[in-house]
Subunit: 457 residues, 4 copies
């Protein structure tokens, strides 16, 4: 059944109908659509468009439809153009022509945006919960691995010693920002467009604030022409998702690297690794590679929708129909990836001795320079002197810790410093004790701060 057609001659072309129809995608909004209609019909009743028995019929019919959706017994017809049409068609079947009163004062333009926002008002908390679950695993790993030392890397070259806990937590905070972004987007989704009609507002005196309260919205839109075309909330969700995907891709890249034979820091649990159809020895980190690869997809979904929005004229244009598939796909990607990571990360086996062994003496070069600074040498000179010491060690095939006192004396005449205590990961790590640093006591504080974040949602 089509919701229009009075002025049309003949029927739609079958291929055109198929191109136009969105039921394959938007049936995912079924619950939101019916719920919105239930609340809408209450308003119609209140303002006298529906009498008591009409309202009761519509209400009962809609409840039945809701049940049919929940029990998966609702039958989509080939002629259902979209979820709104399907629901109204079914309501006709159940209660007859009173069904025709439901759409009074409403347009699919405000209705679909209302449904879509309602869907996100459920989806975002679910997604945040999945992120929280994963963050919890990161914090638990940080607690568990507090005694493990490793080199940090910049440019993928060994830099300075850190705690493995600090490294784990470095993936916690980007996700914390993702949650703040999603929370911001949640508020944006919480603005109700219902009552905007097709573009000019509705001519029936519904109480939009009451509607918003009943549906769980935070506020209402201020301009009907903007309201029916605003897809900022969808673009924001896609941006949040893409950035979250990028954060996960960073962790994935690292796990892939640290699980190589060459790094040898991590071993994947067999339950989260994959083999090769050809090479019997292979144990591959597919799950992490997919996590990384899907960040590209998420970016594509964002780019796609924003490009679709670009250059559109005011109010509703059918181009906007492309919004939902992108949002659903982004949500599904993250909801497939996050639970797997939440199990794969705790199951990772780590090799503390290999992580420690990777802290070769050159990694203490900054500590050496800092020691010189504390003896009064300007940092830039200290840096150059230690640089020269590194060069001597490289040229002579020794570690920098093996330079003799004579060699140091030649480099820095007259300076008497005992370098022997520098070459200890624990000593080096302990010096980085400002907030946000890697010293054990501040990492412990960091864990506490992270734990507090976990309790905010």
């Amino acid at each position: 059944m089509s919701l229009w057609g009075g002025r049309f001659q003949g029927t739609s072309d079958a291929d055109a109908w198929k191109l136009n129809a969105s039921i394959d995608i938007d049936q995912r909004l079924a619950k939101q659509d019916v719920t919105g209609s239930i609340v809408w019909s209450q308003q119609l009743h209140k303002i006298g468009i529906l009498n008591n028995s009409e309202y009761q019929d519509i209400h009962d019919g809609l409840i039945q439809i809701l049940n049919e959706f929940e029990q998966l017994t609702f039958q989509i017809h080939p002629s259902d153009e979209d979820i709104h049409s399907a629901v109204e068609r079914r309501l006709y079947e159940i209660i007859g022509k009173t069904a025709g009163k439901l759409h009074t004062g409403r347009s699919r333009n405000d209705q679909v945006s209302t449904d879509f926002r309602l869907w996100l008002l459920e989806a975002i908390p679910t997604l945040i919960h999945a992120i929280r679950q994963f963050q919890t695993q990161l914090v638990e790993r940080a607690e568990q691995d507090i005694d493990v030392v490793m080199p940090s890397y910049t440019h993928l070259q060994r830099a300075q010693p850190v705690l493995l806990s600090h490294w784990w937590l470095s993936f916690f905070w980007p996700l914390e920002r993702d949650i703040q972004r999603l929370t911001f987007t949640f508020k944006e989704c919480g603005i109700m467009p219902l009552g905007s009609g097709a573009a000019a507002g509705t001519s029936f005196a519904v109480d939009r604030h009451e509607l918003a309260d009943q549906l769980g919205f935070i506020g209402i839109s201020q301009n009907s022409m903007d309201a029916v075309s605003d897809r900022d909330f969808a673009a924001q969700f896609l941006f949040d998702s893409a950035l979250c995907g990028i954060h996960l891709s960073k962790l994935a890249e690292q796990v892939v690297l640290f699980s190589t034979t060459e790094f040898g820091f991590f071993a994947l649990d067999d339950a989260f690794a994959t083999g090769s159809s050809l090479m019997p020895q292979k144990k591959n980190p597919d799950v992490f590679e997919l996590t990384r690869g899907k960040a590209g997809n998420l970016l594509g979904l964002l780019t796609g929708l924003m490009s679709t929005l670009k250059g559109l004229p005011s109010t509703y244009d059918k181009d906007l129909q492309e919004d939902k598939q992108a949002v659903f796909q982004a949500y599904d990607i993250l909801m497939a990836v996050l639970p797997v990571l939440s199990k794969a990360i705790p199951s990772l086996r780590i090799f503390p001795e290999k992580l420690r062994a990777a802290i070769d003496p050159s990694v203490f070069a900054t500590d050496l320079a800092d020691l010189l600074v504390k003896a009064g040498i300007p940092f830039r000179e200290a840096h150059a002197l230690v640089g020269k010491a590194v060069k001597i060690s490289l040229e002579s095939g020794r570690g920098i810790h093996q330079l003799t006192s004579a060699e140091w004396e030649k480099l820095i005449p007259g300076l008497e410093i005992d370098f022997s205590k520098v070459f200890s990961p624990e000593v080096s790590i302990a010096t980085r004790c400002v907030v946000g640093g890697t010293a054990p006591q501040v990492v412990v504080e960091q864990i506490s701060t992270a734990r507090r974040c976990l309790q905010t949602h």
Copy 2:
């Protein structure tokens, strides 16, 4: 059944398995996968890995599987990781352990790229055919509307008179370039990676040239490590699709504009228009808006895959698994849009008198300037003089054709030109008779050239 697992302890985590599995997507490669296996088994037979009866069993089993796919009786199992696993699993069910010989010397890394390229070798000609169908409609409209005049627009402001035929053909040539691009991409798809193994090549002496011939490839890859990771062909296809989508979006934008009440040049046939659930008078160009909007999606698919490819290390990484969904979606979008446009464009009703009426006198300003040039006035001065005439006409609320001889004489003292013949669309159009111009005789030639293009595929 998994194609690997010997070295693994326990089973895969269910969620990880689901994330990792690609059968939902790559089952679309079923035919290509089985065909590739049939040809591969011939090589295994030839080099003695399969004896006659083994070969016969495998061959018959694969033919049966092919039939099952064609008759939609093939059952995907939840444990089928991908299409390759599903086929091998089924082959085991049919012929027993000889099935285990099929994968000899082959990896899924070279197999999936082979399947995917084979799929595109079928898909691209189908897509080109759909474009050709649509181009044919454009040429037919050009032939049909050869007598209709209209203003051309630049910056959406009326510019100079043209034939409507010329305008129709302006959408033909971008599609011609799309076909050239797709043909180029077809050649790129025609390079066979099979025989590259996992990364290093195969150690079984198959004849790759013979394999390529039998499968319909044009040539073979030159480096196994490149071959298993090369997705240039997929990126190219997505680029071609996105650019084709942009071309269609230009036409869509124009049809949307020309079908407004304000322009009033076109009326959509009811079979290709859509109504409003709220406003009974509405007749909307949804089909064209969707065409325009989907250009954004196509761009997103391109961006997504290219972003996924960026920064990957050598050979096969699981990130590459994301390639197929993007290509399938792009193909499906164009194959949904093109056939509808091929019917919607011929069904458009045009209003020649409105198109002609839009050629207001100011549109002949260039013709006036050209006339002055032919009388010896430098173009830049002629341009300025006509500009002033336009200004006078605007200020006095008349058309430029209504300027008096005295006014012209004042502007250009001493010049005696008869402007009266300038204000004719037909005269103006006839002057643009260089190749590619809008004069009727060159448009007729253009139609012939276009017709010849249509015969090249």
Copy 3:
């Protein structure tokens, strides 16, 4: 002067140096870099790394450098790798080797992110101010044009009558959301990374909270490894910019349309229009087309940076250097476009009579249906009946307002409704009086709400 080199043999390759150097781009951070160094040197003084006279020298030297930048007398040297190196090099020239103490405990990794965030902490309020200026013009147009009626459009087809004021305000609210987004991003920029060192934190006991206060940050980062690689704030700014660009593109698209001869609703002021080098009559809306086109660029900048971020390993990688050019370009685009729009929009001449004339009788179809609803007919039936009336009017070449009582009686036997009052824009508009609707009194309220928003920044 290079800040490193002790361990290196020979000099850098000239082309490699050029590729690596970022001074062309990051010199824009000069003020922030020097300011950061002034505050940093205070901490070094406080913890005893600098004695009084060293601190005074560094302080005075930095102040002099700041002046040189402000007076544009600072000379960039070809050997300056980046802004940090340039400042330190100049400080050496001014105060000698004490300059070498400035970089103590700091890395360019935390320094550049600090500079960049400081830059955005200035840039974002400037950008918000430019948006506010433009919003003010929109509100003033809304106030000025409160008596002008026009048809709203959906799918670019005439839909329902609205006030032009309502239309103007429909561009206000998306910008309001942009400001909310930018405000959110401002907070994200307000987290100070300084004190994170290269990756592990600093080993000098600076007070990061005090540093943050002195530099105008809101808070400090919690994890040094995250802090040196976090570019979420830059991606957010690019997203905000791209979405703002899309909002402006919608207005631009509309102005381009409404300034066509066919619509004829608007005329650009000559000061904001452009001519043709060939066609003397042309008056083109280049400014609005560029506004629309640059939305594409802004999206490209977002996509580019996010793709660069994807798949990077932990902490600082040089890829991150690509962040600044994108942000500067996005900022420059919006700061070029917004001030022009702020002048071009008030200068637009509007044609109220043409806007009113575009409200043809069919635009009242919803009002007719609503009237039937109020007489008790279910909306869906009412919609179909009015649809049939539209069809009759189309077939008979009359307006729907010209249908006779007999014809209505035939359509809806027994119904006695006076349709004569329906066909008034003012009546129709007045009915849409829920919040967010187009009725004059609610639009006046909407203006008040908008005015209040303008005062929040």
Copy 4:
């Protein structure tokens, strides 16, 4: 000087002018613009618009302007809107009002596209040359490193032994495809739009084929309305550039990895490495990280332009002005990166013994399975058996080569195979001798094929 203005009142708003002007960008087309004008004036002479002395004046004036550009003495004025205006303004200064005849029959719409294509007809061969230079270095490395063995990696896990030469060549072929793509794009650029006027074609009887020949074009456009808006060639160039950037990012990612201490396969020459301002020991691969990061930028440039093109109406819209900056930026990025890589790659120091040492015994697992296959065991069973052997070796902390005959006998009762010869990289590599494989003799053939490619441009 403006090329228009006759019909305009007052002057342009200064900010609007600045937004509109493109001279900052398009002055890069100076040479092409003047050359195009010289050839255009010949046609104007031939058809009698210019007499001999006028033609001579224009010709000499343009030659002088060309010299001024070449000697960098040409002064851009603030009032020059674009390069076309600047040239015509200067011509006026040199030869007076005859200059006003040059623009006869031409529009900036066809002129700018002509200039832009001419620029690419020079730029593409230059870029191809830079790629060829780099490919040459790859081939030379392949020749030089022919005796070096290494493990190939899939999923970044050790897979099968290969020659380092084979690995180097795996980066040659993607670039070969890039050159094919650029060659295809070159042909697309070779279609001349000149003579298309503003949109409708020119009314002066120039010989477009002659113009094309004189300017070095391959053919001429067939439809003037398409010709002035076609930016496919620019999008193609950006796609080619982005894909080339992705190919380089793959190599960059690998060099970054192989230069880590953990892999230790490569050492960067100091001339192509970079230090840290803080950590004296650091030697960073910035050049390769920037190569990788800039692939993101290139993708952004592509996305940006395509998004700008999406949804534009027919013929020239000012949005198209955004095309040039993107193309110039993409060209500049590749022309900055490629020459550096061409020097950095030959300067890389490799460590053959470390590469060989990375071929641990498990890497021969496929060879073991293949051996079983050759003894008649179906591959899938062989795979499972070797998988079990891997598991035994892992559990017992030995290499797979250390399994005893008794253990093998238990796994595969009755089979008598001598596994001792399997564990040799040379033996394994020699078996992959199909075309495209890693066996030395086919790699030598591959080098020859590559050398032949190098000679085709």
